[in-house]
Symmetry: C2
Subunit: 286 residues, 2 copies
Amino acid sequence: MPEAATVRATIGDSEFDRDTALTRREPGVPGVYDIDLSAGWTIISAVNGGYLLAVLGRALADALPHADPFTISAHYLTASQPGPAVVRTDIVRTGRTLSTGQASLFQYDDQGREVERIRVLASYGDLDSLPDDVRTTAKPPAIPPMEQCFGPEDGPAPVEGSSAITDRLMLRLDPSTLGWALGAPSGNGEMRAWFGLADGRDPDPLALLLAVDALPPTAFELGLSGWVPTVELTVHVRSRPAPGPLRVSISTRNLAGGFLEEDAEVWDSADRLVAQSRQLARVRLR
Amino acid sequence: MPEAATVRATIGDSEFDRDTALTRREPGVPGVYDIDLSAGWTIISAVNGGYLLAVLGRALADALPHADPFTISAHYLTASQPGPAVVRTDIVRTGRTLSTGQASLFQYDDQGREVERIRVLASYGDLDSLPDDVRTTAKPPAIPPMEQCFGPEDGPAPVEGSSAITDRLMLRLDPSTLGWALGAPSGNGEMRAWFGLADGRDPDPLALLLAVDALPPTAFELGLSGWVPTVELTVHVRSRPAPGPLRVSISTRNLAGGFLEEDAEVWDSADRLVAQSRQLARVRLR
């Protein structure tokens, strides 16, 4: 029996690559992967949804004939915990330019039974095969230079929910979206930040899946302070990001009936809109 | 053996209800439904993606313990044709306030084998259980009164792609987004219209799934005239729509690399934002 193969990180051996690395449960069970979910990407006690999406995204990149997520939709079912998990993938359709796959992440209950945490449906392609043209005039978010933005180390801003993930990210928030941290939320559903990985690893498509769900919730700027669990998150990766820090801009237009949407745009250092996402989240008032 | 049950229309017996009605393949095969896809909702020769999403949405409303789609993500695999189809549903998780399900629509090839057309992942709830509060200040789209907007009957506007579906819809386009029809596209990725069902049926959550994909593509206003097939479409239904016509506003920020996103907002006659959607579509230049 051959050694279990580890799905190799595409870029170096950073914390992000190490913590999203999956082990193929070969032979005989194609498309099944084991992973130990890292405690390094938790917010309070929950595992960050973007990190989990990157784990599922990496499994599908291995299972499908195409390597880059073009559009990936995740429905979050139950809260994941650090520790052992299994990812089961299923190839839905393979085509010349796009392939579609499905994946689920499971963990184990007290009796060792599998409990499904997240189910994902995604279409993958090859970003490098796309033409370079950009026909629209969307502009990067107006965000001050990084040295004028604030990170958790800049206190007194109490970055609520700061937790293990804080150490893994380079996150510097636009002061104009930090009113909530000073007790004076703006009432605008906006959040903007510079984003990178703390160990300097450059962004790739999988890191974009993390970037869209890494900022404090826009609900904070709308005057709410409770937990905002994601119901569903869909990410479109539109271009391979250039090296260097990303700018992430998140906005909410509709906080109503106990739910809100969060739309994220991610721009790379070459001023290219590299990812767009939307999530539906539930507001838990407290 | 009991008679096959038809999943009843929720509102009357309109064209839309009749053409999305499914027959349960009971007993013994729970969650499987037969339907004859109507030729009444085609654009050129393809069946409209919003109509298909409403068919899948209706199947899941029957299969799941909750009746209203809160968030539904569809990946379009192969082009559907009018005629027989089968919908297979799978319950992923049932909870107190939300349930998650999966559904696939299949048709048959020359040998009678099933070919998957669309796969959907969705979370359902009960819209009537949500509190009435709206905490954001988003405004309905600036669209002229209906009598100042244009429908296909108003020629000379050549509503490209007009087809059978034109007869089923009340669609009146904002003249400021109709430049493309006069050979002078604005270059803005925007499309706005009043929307209703031609037979006067009032909107419900399933009709919202149709509304988000019923306008001409924003690509027309960006100067393109080819076919824009949907890769993935996710709809959030945020509130049960009030009776009367809807206003639909669609925008594109990023047409690049041969793909574009289309974001739709649907507002009801009570000025409530009742649905938001985003799709990733491919641009087929011609």
